[in-house]
Symmetry: C2
């Protein structure tokens, strides 16, 4: 069978890893349509990567798929979920209950993926005490105490960039190992802490670059 | 002088392009601190890329910097801004005035970068008529008419994934060439339309992967 997750020693390139969530999303859609199996050719047509790219990507993690049969959709979905760590549960807190913080808090999909929001903090008196998805926004003054008493896996930073590093410091000091950072700044953290950035203005600049690329090289 | 933007025929790799906004952000910070010039070594220490990486990246676009002098911060900032298309002005509309739409609408930085929000649309009667940054949310029924009468450069899609493609179709039909897509789906658009995606759950999955990576290959 092709569904055993094999341990490989080589470090997988970030380019491959960044494609995995897309596989996961497409396979989830196939599952919801009750599609049991799919060839790498069909998967390629749907997802827009070449069939050989798909085979290469998945080979990094083990031996999926079977000659002449294709992939078992549910197996592959579960295995990719496992590779992505989605078979685990994470306790998360959000610091910053402005628009972005509220948007993240309201994404019900994150709960389904195993990311459980435990608490939300802000320093704005107008926001402290309001409820977002039944979670009352706490004063950020209590972040340190809260984290000491409630071990947390992932900290989500949605504060302005000037405050982001000090929030990250409190998180790191209290054992948080993963930070999802929406503040437009690069956080300084120890090597064993993972930071994943969502820099919206960088994404907008890339769009702007690509809109102008053809002109740039015409001059 | 090193500040002429040279036309090169080769297509620049996306990896280089995705680093440009970070250069732009760091150079902007140096400018605000009144720092006039910087060596590639110093820039490297601040930004975390190697000096040779920086020289290589910038060489893709022309001949910046001078032996023994380093980079003129303001020149380089302006040139990178120009490469990123930030010397231009863009008219934008947001469709979807939920949390993400409101967060994007409220980012004052985007205005400063030349992205001017002209209109916001939603289909929710509770949102239609409210004002976000002095812009009244319009009924999405009028999106088509609005775009016909008001040529727009960039459409920002913040609706649920089920509605995203039909909104993109209206945008494309009315000449929009750039779509900033926050819906967790891949839009189908003609080749001359650029889509830049912000897929939040994919970013969260990458964080989860990286948190588990060491365990994955220990098994």
């Amino acid at each position: 069978m092709g569904s055993e997750l094999m341990a490989k020693e080589t470090k997988i390139s970030m380019a491959v890893i960044r494609r995995l969530p897309k596989y996961h999303r497409y396979l989830g859609e196939l599952l919801r349509k009750d599609i049991d199996r799919i060839s790498s050719k069909e998967l390629s047509e749907r997802i827009g990567f070449t069939a050989s790219q798909i085979r290469q990507d998945l080979n990094c993690f083990g031996d999926f798929g079977q000659q002449g049969y294709g992939y078992n959709v549910k197996d592959l979905y579960n295995q990719i979920g496992k590779i992505l760590g989605l078979d685990k549960e994470y306790k998360t807190v959000i610091v910053g209950a402005g628009n972005i913080g509220q948007a993240v808090a309201n994404y019900s999909k994150f709960e389904r993926l195993g990311f459980h929001l435990q608490a939300i903090f802000d320093k704005n008196p107008k926001l402290i005490g309001i409820k977002i998805r039944d979670i009352e926004v706490k004063d950020v003054e209590y972040l340190d105490t809260y984290l000491k008493e409630n071990p947390t896996d992932i900290g989500i930073i949605c504060v302005p960039k000037e405050q982001a590093q000090s929030i990250a410091d409190i998180m790191v000091r209290n054992g948080i190992k993963g930070i999802w950072n929406f503040a437009p700044t690069d956080l300084v953290v120890p090597d064993d802490v993972i930071v994943e950035n969502v820099h919206l203005s960088e994404s907008l600049m890339i769009l702007s670059y690509r809109l102008n690329e053809s002109n740039l090289f015409k001059e």
